[in-house]
């Protein structure tokens, strides 16, 4: 496996950080470029396997068609107070966050 091919640039790390909603310092970005790349290199060992005869799948449990009936399960529903109990800020029964920018 060619290690150079999985080496991430700092720009790629910046993009990943943005997508993950993380604020990173320049030092952290540098460190991440190293560590994320090494994780990718490690995982990319899988590429050495011959998968010609292996069917593609996105899950391995073997389960299919797991459904629930359309029934209200009041037992599992939380009260308003319970629902809000871990919120940083709430107001009149609502979760409250800093204003989302909207041009309306």
């Amino acid at each position: 496996m060619d290690k150079a091919s999985t080496k991430l640039t700092t720009d790629e790390i910046k993009k990943l950080a943005k997508l993950a909603n993380l604020k990173l310092t320049e030092a952290q970005i540098k460190k991440m470029a190293e560590s994320v790349s090494s994780v990718l290199s490690y995982v990319s060992q899988l590429k050495s396997l011959n998968t010609t005869d292996t069917e593609e799948t996105s899950q391995v449990t073997g389960q299919e068609n797991v459904f629930r009936d359309d029934v209200v399960d009041a037992e599992r529903m939380l009260s308003q107070a319970e629902a809000l109990s871990n919120s940083k800020n709430n107001h009149n029964g609502y979760f409250m966050v800093k204003a989302i920018f909207e041009e309306v």
Binding site: N21, D69, V72, M77, S79, G93, Y94, F95, K98, A99
Partner: protein, 445 residues
Amino acid sequence: MNKNYHPIIGMEIHVELKTASKMFCGCKNDPFGAPKPNIYTCPVCLGLPGALPVPNRKAVEWCIILGLALNCDIPLFSKFDRKNYFYPDLPKGYQISQYDQPFAVGGYLNITSGKEKKRIGITRVHLEEDTGKLMHATVDGKKVSLIDFNRSGVPLVEIVTEPDLRSSEEARIFLKKLHQIIRYLEISDADMEKGTMRLEPNISVSEVSKSRAGELPPYKVEVKNINSFSFAKKAIDYEVNRHIAILETGSLPEQETRGWDEKKGITFSQRSKEEAQDYRYFPEPDIPPIRWQKSQINSFKSQIPELPDRKLTRFIKEYVLSEYDAVILTDEKAVAAYFEKAAISKTVPAKTITNWIINKKADIKKLSPEELVKLIQSKSQVSSMPDKELEEIISKIISSNPKAVADYRAGKETAMMFLLGQVMRETRGRADANTTRKILETKLK
């Protein structure tokens, strides 16, 4: 409109399903009727760690039934995917949706625009979950957003069309027809004021010569937040004119998302400078895939009720109605069913029943179909009764039916029908229904 250009319009439509419970958990699905915010939630729809989603069978079946009603193919294998993005109304940081293997693909809907019949392609119909509801407010002098998760995880169907619509009027006709089919299937109220049906036109404008050659414009503008058919039409017209003006100067309209401001009658830019979204879809690992047997698909097909087009044709043929009458009668499934119940006795001509319903001579919300037929029968008989005799009979009926009289005085309109019926029986149908009704009303005041 400038003749050298024509609009290229596709639609994305979101519809909330009216299941009893939410899409992936057993919380009550009634965000609009909820008396308070955040009372129909649980760890699953609040996105708490470790909570596991389990799909609602009925929502999945309804999505497939809608796909079949829109002439789609139902792939035998399907799955859910995660669409990742951050927004405060999305507690998990991703929406469970469907990406490359939706429940229904490749359908169509035929519409009639003026005299022209057209086939509008349906790209896909897929199932996902709705987000929470955001409200913008000022609390303690600070601008904030308030979030209600009662709507979080409500089953949401997305219908995507091909860019086959060529005018705002075609778009309006298509949307009305889609709305009608959804109502016939009884899978959603599709109430645009409540937001259970939401419209997003994708609009671009092309030079006629280019689009004839099968070339699509290199840009499109998506208009969001539209909650009526006529707003959709107006927003499309506004956009088309705006694009033509830009194209005439030799430039290209910017690819962007815009909103519709009904008060000003304009669209406005919402996120023009934003870079392309990167949702990083991947298969939802918490939900096993779905595999159908052909027999199951056939069973879904058999659950589709008679749809508007077929009902319309049958009404014209079976009841010998004009197309105009049949269109009105079949607009709402409930009205069509009412008409058929009234027409089935064949004691009154179908055309007469149609006239009574269409001209609103009777309130069909208050009268049963049988009562309507009786009323029509009694009305079409000529009164051959001296007024004095009729008055006497009416007085007698009033004094011998104190309960019906009390009911009527308490506002029960059906009591009037009962009393009317009693008078009709007593007079063996010789009394004029309208006259009788008027006398009854005067005496009971």
